[in-house]
């Protein structure tokens, strides 16, 4: 693997995500340009857990957005699940994300009008499929994160930690091969954050998903197989 021009070791597992010399430039109001990512190259293989640290504005979220196909790079290439994102249409990128990527947000982004179970089931409602089977899986996932008894409740009644656990179940429901988590504990207290992180890592490993997560915490970063730092848009080994 390479990062910021450096060389990274590769694994034997199949490649899930690969950035090659990726640059992302934003044009600010007034015409000035801002480079959020500069020549980033990284490879994530199946089952690996990667932590990404860095200061605010260092490009961490941009990295995740590009990885999920939510945004397109200014330069370089990104391969997700074996497909070059640049070659895909918007619809194809969307379907690639739907079928292969699970997203966890800092602010949970649960749908307040739905119950806990229904929130977990939203990806199934979007993609279709055997809803009964997925419902059973949702119940199973909720049991694994300790929310079996809250399944029928509305999410507004949950605490922050419980909400993020629901979001974890939603992200993993359709067994994505890549989990992307943007500061999943950023909105939680330390103890709750630790618990959520352990659950996230546990679920990812049990399901065999690769996981890339962004965090400010060195302690949480240490839980990953490998940790990378983004500094002014440049990716370097931490």
């Amino acid at each position: 693997m390479t990062a910021g021009g450096g060389v990274m070791k590769g694994g034997v597992e199949p490649e899930i995500l690969a950035f090659r010399d990726v640059t992302k430039r934003y044009v600010l109001p007034g015409g000035a340009a801002f480079e959020a990512l500069r020549g980033v190259s990284i490879e994530v293989r199946a089952g690996r857990v990667v932590a990404l640290i860095g200061r605010s504005g260092s490009g961490k979220s941009t990295f995740l957005h590009l990885a999920a196909g939510l945004d397109a790079p200014t330069g370089g290439a990104i391969r997700l699940l074996g497909r070059e994102l640049a070659a895909l249409s918007d619809r194809e990128r969307t379907l690639c994300r739907r079928d292969g990527v699970g997203l966890v947000f800092q602010f949970f982004h649960l749908l307040p009008h739905l119950s806990v179970t229904d929130n977990v089931l939203v990806p199934a409602l979007i993609a279709g499929g055997d809803l009964q089977a997925l419902r059973r899986r949702a119940e199973d996932l909720l049991a694994r994160v300790g929310l079996a008894d809250r399944a029928a409740q509305h999410v507004q009644k949950l605490s922050g930690g419980e909400m993020q656990r629901v979001a974890l179940c939603r992200a993993i429901l359709r067994r994505p091969r890549l989990l992307l988590a943007d500061e999943p504990t950023g909105n939680l207290d330390e103890a709750t954050g630790q618990l959520v992180m352990e659950l996230l890592l546990g679920l990812a490993r049990e399901e065999g998903s690769a996981l890339v997560y962004v965090t400010h915490s060195r302690e949480l970063a240490a839980l990953a197989d490998e940790t990378w730092r983004l500094h002014s848009g440049v990716l370097e080994a931490a």
Binding site: A68, D90, R98, L103, V122, I126, G128, Q156
Partner: protein, 844 residues
């Protein structure tokens, strides 16, 4: 995704019932408005077509004269024509029911013994009674039930100034064969009708049943050639089409006005969808992040709109029917008084019309939601997840939108004055461009309000100024209101201008003290005349100084059915009683009084393309197809009928069309005689004659009452679109109350009182109303000019002098602001109840 749609919809309905219902109400009012007009339009034609069908039955052709009647001696020649299987003469006339102003029987004299001709089942005894009983008449069951007539009931009626009595001999239910047929149709034996009431030997039409396999068009040509130029052969479809053409302007005008309500309703859907989408940005962002495609998001949003449209349509269709039913009388009055057609007695909602209502409601809702739906579907999922306000995105748009509006108007104006000049729809295109341009300027105006100096305290002024920060929600409401106000203002100015013009016209033309005619004159044909001895007695009556005479016939000019009037031209023209819109007064006076020239009414001149100096052929029948030609000496103003009329000297009329009785007389009283006293005296003296005697003042009142009746539906449409627009204000403010709950909570947590928050929202309501008023006033002024200067002359043929009823407009403006502020009460109350804790909840 369908399952998710159902879940999300339930949540939407739980969370925004009032918003949803307001949008549904907007669609319902829009659909109701358009549908009611379409029902009335269809019923207007349906009534005419129903009567044609009821009387003509299976006849493929009707032979009609260019004047009111034909000689019945034509019948053997018709029957002997190859291809004619049967021919049925009909004699039609209008008989006024005694003792009730405006009530009449549409009498049809027919051959009652023709087999299966009319839905009348006469027993053998009845046939004898028909022949034996003078005035035997069959009336419709519904009219008999309404008036309590049984067989043998005697009905006093009048035709012209003659009184007579009919006797109900049977019931005839035309609605068996034509559901929309007039219930005022009554059937008599042909010979009795001719002898008792009309002219012996004359008929109104001869219905022809063609033999099987005969080419009807070819038969029509042969019959016209054989019977001479006085006779026209027309199919029932042609007769209905002629009535349709006559009503075209009336129908189009109402349809255009009703569409404005739908347009405003569409705005409401637009505002409601934007409101819903503002609330759902995060939800849609999550869905997109989780893999929902843009198409799925679009379908989700449009699905909501479709449901909203379906509910609105479901409510709008019965509403339209109710509104149509409530306006039958007004429309019927217009049809009878202005167009001399059959009045509408009942309205029918056909499946086709219900389908039209549904299509319009659903299309309106989908179109209203389409732009916001496309916007949100196109948006980046990350942008949807980010909680952004709308001002940043909208900040660039106001100037561009206003520029677009200016370009649209400039283009429409240039086209209307340039290549499209003279195209009848040019005025409507300009009006439409105006109504489209007005709301486009709303964001710029709201932004300008936002640039006003900040008030020193939180309150109403702060709320009004703050509107510019929420353009997405407020601009649509201000725009919708501006459209409705434009329509209100434009129509108000147009009606006031029309009214003033008519008042001036009445002032100039009605100079006599007392007017005398017969109850059936207005809609009668040649038979509604004053007996000569009645005229003589009127001239000699106590207190009468002089009389003006008028004789009216019906005929054709350039294939258009018109009224031909002979009057004492010299004194009338010299006294300015005829207002000329074209031609030199002195020369016209000379030509009409001495040289046998004619004056042509403005509507006829415009529609038939007649100018001063032209020669026109006037056909009033009875001259064996030889139509006399007349020089047009002038174009005169006439607001009495849109059909068209020709005026000539009475001497000219008699010389060209033969002598005949008068139809109207105007009396000039000796100085000091009170007209009302004179009217009372004349009514007493002429109690044995069927006369309508009215003073000048009464006649003016009646003319203006008919005028008001003509615009009753218009006013209703105005009111409906305003209700929709004011509902839009409530909707916009509810959106703000919901969307900005965190902002309100912040204000509350910083110490703002409930009253202050309440006033902020009332200020917003007033601000939206004022913006709507300012833009609406500008749009309304433009619309008024388009209506008065372009649409009315092009479609109705009348020229109208522009008049600005400032006091009425000011009153309407005050009322509107008050309504808008009231519309703000509920959202203001909701917003002021927002607890400071909403700040925390916003983080979910």
């Amino acid at each position: 995704m369908r399952r998710y749609f159902a879940q999300a919809l339930r949540a939407q309905l739980r969370g925004g019932r009032v918003l949803f219902l307001l949008a549904v109400a907007g669609v319902a009012l829009g659909v109701g408005s358009v549908l009611s007009i379409q029902i009335l339009n269809e019923s207007a034609l349906g009534a005419f077509a129903g009567s044609v069908r009821a009387l003509s039955g299976d006849a493929q052709l009707s032979l009609v004269g260019r004047g009111p009647t034909l000689p019945d001696a034509l019948l053997p020649r018709v029957l002997s024509e190859h291809g004619v299987r049967a021919a049925h003469p009909l004699y039609r006339l209008e008989a006024a029911l005694a003792g009730e102003r405006g009530a009449a029987l549409e009498i049809v004299g027919a051959d009652l013994f023709a087999p299966a001709r009319l839905p009348l089942d006469l027993a053998r005894g009845d046939i004898a009674a028909v022949l034996r009983t003078p005035g035997w008449v069959a009336v419709t069951p519904s009219l008999a039930a309404e008036r309590g007539w049984a067989r043998g009931a005697r009905i006093p009626v009048s035709i012209g100034s003659r009184r007579t009595v009919l006797e109900v001999g049977a019931l005839i239910d035309f609605r068996q064969v034509a559901p929309l047929a007039s219930r005022r149709l009554a059937v008599m034996d042909l010979a009795q009708a001719q002898a008792l009431l009309g002219e012996a030997g004359r008929v109104s039409q001869i219905d022809v049943v063609a033999a099987e396999g005969v080419d009807v068009a070819e038969l029509a040509r042969r019959l016209e050639a054989r019977l001479g130029g006085d006779v026209r052969a027309v199919t029932p479809e042609q007769r209905v089409a002629e009535a349709g053409a006559l009503l075209a302007a009336f129908r189009l005008n109402l349809t255009a006005l009703s569409l404005v309500s739908l347009f405003v309703g569409g705005f409401l859907v637009h505002a409601s969808t934007q409101a819903a989408l503002s609330r759902r940005r995060e939800e849609l962002g999550v869905l997109r992040c989780l893999g929902a495609t843009r198409g799925q998001v679009l379908a989700l949003v449009l699905g909501d709109a479709l449901l909203l449209g379906t509910l609105g349509t479901a409510a709008g269709i019965p509403l339209g029917w109710l509104v149509a039913r409530a306006n039958v009388r007004a429309v019927s009055g217009t049809l009878r008084n202005l167009y001399l057609l059959e009045g509408v007695e009942r309205v029918t909602l056909t499946p086709a019309l219900a389908g039209l209502g549904a299509a319009l409601g659903l299309a309106g809702a989908l179109l209203g939601a389409l732009l916001p739906a496309l916007d949100v579907a196109r948006e980046d999922p990350r942008a949807l997840l980010a909680r952004r306000g709308d001002s940043a995105a909208a900040s660039r748009a106001p100037r561009q939108l206003a520029l677009g509006a200016a370009l649209l108007l400039a283009l429409a104006g240039a086209l209307a004055q340039g290549p499209l000049r003279g195209w009848p729809y040019a005025g409507f295109a300009l009006a439409l461009a105006l109504l489209a341009a007005v709301p486009l300027c709303a964001p710029l105006l709201l932004r300008a309000v936002g640039g006003l100096p900040a008030p020193r305290r939180l309150g109403a002024a702060w709320g009004a100024r703050d509107l510019s920060a929420h353009l997405r929600a407020t601009a649509a409401a201000a725009g919708a209101l501006a459209v409705a106000v434009s329509m209100l203002c434009g129509i108000t100015v147009m009606i006031a201008s029309f009214r003033e013009t008519v008042v001036d016209w009445l002032e100039a033309t009605l100079r006599a003290d007392v007017y005398v005619t017969t109850p059936s004159w207005r809609r009668g044909q040649g038979e509604a005349t004053l007996a000569p001895e009645v005229v003589e007695r009127l001239a000699r009556a106590e207190g009468v100084r002089a009389i003006d005479r008028l004789r009216q016939l019906s005929g054709e000019v350039n294939g258009r059915r018109v009224a031909i009037s002979g009057f004492d031209a010299g004194p009338a023209l010299a006294g300015g009683r005829v207002q000329l819109a074209g031609g030199d007064r002195a020369a016209a006076l000379r030509s009409v009084a001495r040289e046998g020239a004619v004056l042509v009414s403005e509507p006829l001149a415009r529609k038939a393309g007649i100018s001063v100096g032209d020669r026109v052929e006037i056909d009033a029948g009875g001259l064996g197809g030889r139509s006399p030609r007349f020089e047009v000496a002038g174009i005169y103003r006439d607001y009495g009928t849109e059909r068209g009329a020709v005026l000539m000297d009475l001497g000219t009329l008699e010389a060209r069309f033969g002598k005949g009785p008068l139809t109207n007389v105007a009396l000039y009283l000796a100085p000091g005689v009170d007209p009302e006293v004179a009217v009372a005296r004349l009514r007493g003296a002429f109690a044995g004659d069927a006369l309508v005697v009215r003073s000048n003042r009464t006649l003016r009142h009646e003319v203006l009452a008919i005028f008001e009746q003509t615009f009753a539906v218009t006013r209703l449409l105005q009111a409906m679109s305003l209700v929709v627009a004011v509902a839009g204000i409530t909707l916009a403010l509810l959106v703000l109350a919901r969307e900005r709950a965190a902002e309100v909570a912040l204000l509350r947590s910083l110490g703002a009182t409930r009253l202050q928050v309440f006033l902020v929202f009332l200020g917003r309501a007033a601000g939206i109303a004022l913006c709507g008023l300012i833009l609406g006033a500008a749009g309304g002024a433009g619309l008024a000019v388009a209506l008065v200067e372009i649409i009315n002359p092009a479609w109705f043929g009348w020229s109208i002098t522009l008049h600005w009823p400032l006091a009425t407009l000011a009153r309407q403006a005050l009322l509107l602001v008050a309504a808008a502020v009231l519309a703000g009460f509920y959202p203001a109350a909701r917003a002021s109840g927002t607890p400071a804790t909403e700040l925390a909840r916003d983080a979910l």
